[in-house]
């Protein structure tokens, strides 16, 4: 477990290309036109026993709002070290977020689940907008979100 985690953190935090036993994965998140400010999105992974493993991306730069990403905040205790170097801007309504990462092969087909929590200022918090198992077969499949995310897919 520990080695897996460190691989994950290494690959996500430093996004080292060409790492052995890793593959390049593109995550695409399209937002609905929900009519509000830019959304904060936390993309993170839990294992088969629902234990937090690591964060892949944090869209939204102000850590004072992170407690509205309820699932992520509970899992990490709001630890901003988890998103060092993998933080970007919040995503506007109707826009899409595309990120490409090197993810360890071992993350796929092993019971890991990718979650996205979303939150918008002055609107509802939406933990677990998306939760999708990471499998080689699931690539390219569109997954609907609950409130702010129109659809999400990963490709490699």
């Amino acid at each position: 477990m520990k080695s897996l985690l460190s691989t994950l953190v290494l690959t996500t935090a430093l996004t080292m290309p060409g790492l052995a036993m890793a593959r390049q994965v593109t995550l695409t998140t399209n937002l609905t036109s929900y009519g509000g400010d830019g959304a904060y999105l936390a993309l993170y992974v839990t294992d088969a026993s629902d234990t937090y493993v690591g964060t892949l991306w944090m869209a939204g730069g102000k850590s004072k709002y992170y407690n509205h990403l309820t699932g992520w905040y509970r899992a990490t205790g709001g630890d901003t070290a988890q998103v060092n170097g993998i933080t970007g801007a919040s995503v506007g309504a109707g826009r899409s977020l595309e990120i490409t990462l090197d993810l360890a092969d071992a993350l796929f087909d092993a019971g890991y689940t990718l979650h996205i929590d979303a939150s918008v200022e002055d609107m509802r918090d939406s933990p677990n907008e998306v939760s999708v198992p990471l499998t080689s077969g699931g690539r390219g499949t569109l997954v609907k979100g609950r409130r702010y995310i129109a659809d999400f897919s990963y490709d490699m």
Partner: protein
Amino acid sequence: MIRAFHRWPGLLALALVTVLALSGAALSVFPAADQLTAPQAEAGLTVAQLSERIQAVYPTVEQIRRAPSGRITAYWFENDSPGAAVIDPATGAGAGLADPNKVERWLTHFHRSLLLGDAGRLVMAVGALAMLILSVTGAALVARRAGGWRHWFAPLRGTAPGRLHVEIARIAVVGLVLSSVTALWMVAVTFEVLPENAAMPDFPAEVSGETGIAFADMAVIGITPVDTLRELSFPYPGDPTDVFTLKTDQGTGYLDQGTGALLAWADLSLWERTSETIYMLHTGQGATTLGLVLGIMALGVPLMGATGVLIWLAGRRGRPRIRGNSAKGRAETIVLVGSEGGSTWAFAATLHAALTQAGQSVHLAPMSALDPARYGRAERMIVLAATYGDGDAPASAKGFLDRLNALDRAPEIPLVVLGFGDRSYPAYCAFAKAVTAAAQAKGWPGLMAMGMIDRQSPQEFARWGRDLGQAMGIALDLIHQPVLPRTKALTLISRRDYGAEVQAPTAILRFALPRVSLWQRLAGQGFARFNAGDLIGILPEGSPVPRLYSLASARRDGFVEIVVKKHLGGLCSGQLTALEPGDTVTAFLRRNPDFQPRGDDGPLILIGAGTGIGPLAGFVRGNARQRPIHLFFGIRHPSSDFLYGEALRDWQSKGLLTRLITAVSRETQPQYVQDALRGDAAQVAQLIRDGARVMVCGGRDMAAGVADTLAEILAPAGLTPATLKAEGRYVEDVY
């Protein structure tokens, strides 16, 4: 120094601060509107009861939030689609759309970042900082001008923009400081300079694993009143490991969905509490009245901006460029200037030019640059000193007295001091007097007695120049034109003559209104707007130095009227009293805002003698509101120089004038106006105790006599002319 710190942020950040203030004022309305429109929960309603009601209507409710305005919003999912509504707490049913107000959101973004993201936030933070600097330096200036913080609300004098600027500022400054400090705090939190990490309890490791407890059986929310609620989040459907999350104004906790037990709790951290209070103070959310008050105060900012620019422009126009200023080590005459607004510099420039023309080498510098050790070739020093507020040093003279007192011994070159001031202030030329006293105490030799110039009088300055020239053994002609005024030709339409029999030939001269341009009319400049008590400057033929006369009419009277007494050998009065209808003179208008019967409808006591009746008669003529006016008028003989005699009786019969008391000096028992006052002491004292305003116009000796008499009359009531002057209730127009 403070003035510079007020002026430059004000001018540079003017647009930014105005944008901040206007958008802030607009935003201040929303919390109040929210509170008025949102259905409020009844007193004593608990979170459990509210949740029950809402869940009965929306079974899939997943979050309930309460805004500081009392508005309750519920969020749910039904058939996989999200729903939200503002809730009427009495029924639990939806009572309106939960979508955020688009206008408010746009304004909020504009207010905090000009819609430009983080860069915009920083720009607006600079604006907030500018507002704070302006507030603090402005407050210091107001306090200094009024003569201390105790006199914060002392009556104001000066030009209309100056008065309006301070009038607004001394009320609005509280709100502006509060708004700008809280704004800076919020920016610091946003950029994580200050921490604001919500204290969240650790998520419970173990839960009961059961689900489905009734709200009524849940201990904590059963006793939590709705008005302390922030947010209640329901457990994720079908996940027995999830919990209820309750946020109140005390903190955050997790509740078991099977037993209702409080699994974990964290109080709000001190930082959170502080930040929430600051957020409330800034936005008015949860403090709507305060929000509205702050919004109204913010509306003063654009007005202060506009008047501030006018004040700055007026000061700039008055400051001349100095050509050919000698170095201090080579100059024969050192001229030091203590000026606040810049007008004394203009006099200094005139002196500099005249001395230079007379062959002198002159060094001109601010008083604060006093440096006797380096005046190697100087033969004399001339100090021109204005006064600020209650006798303080003006801006360019800061530190002069300290430097003087720190000298080992007084310089050997003789000193000349000339004070500039306004005789209607109690501290007339007080700083110049303090300089003279300090110099004498040091044993500094003087060249001539200290001179004083009242209200920038060019005549007095020219007279002083002749005295100075005599003392220096040169011919010195000081022709000072403060600001080149735009002159008009005034045509005489009628004249009435008085006083020839008592050796005081006097004329009431009435001129036609000159034509004014459209621009002047719109801007209220020049003869487009004037009142009795304002001044006109007449440029006599043969002299470039204007003579000032008080106006006896207002624009709405439809003519320009002055009262002129012919002085023996007087150039200007000679020409004026020789005018026949149809003749013209060259004149300009100068406002005299301090000598106006401003204020409420309280009684007026007008005191004047001779030609001093002019503006006072004008006030009576314009007294359409029939404010009580008691006029004390000193004349020589009723059959000869009773100026406005018939008109005054007419105005009295029409109720414009309450009482006319004359004092006649050429009778068997000569009476002066101060005698008439003394004869009426009881009523005068009573009127003043009741808030009457006293206005005195006439010769200097008469005014001094009146002040002494009033001091006598008022002593039993514990009042003095000085205290009345400080309150702005005793004003003089003296010549």
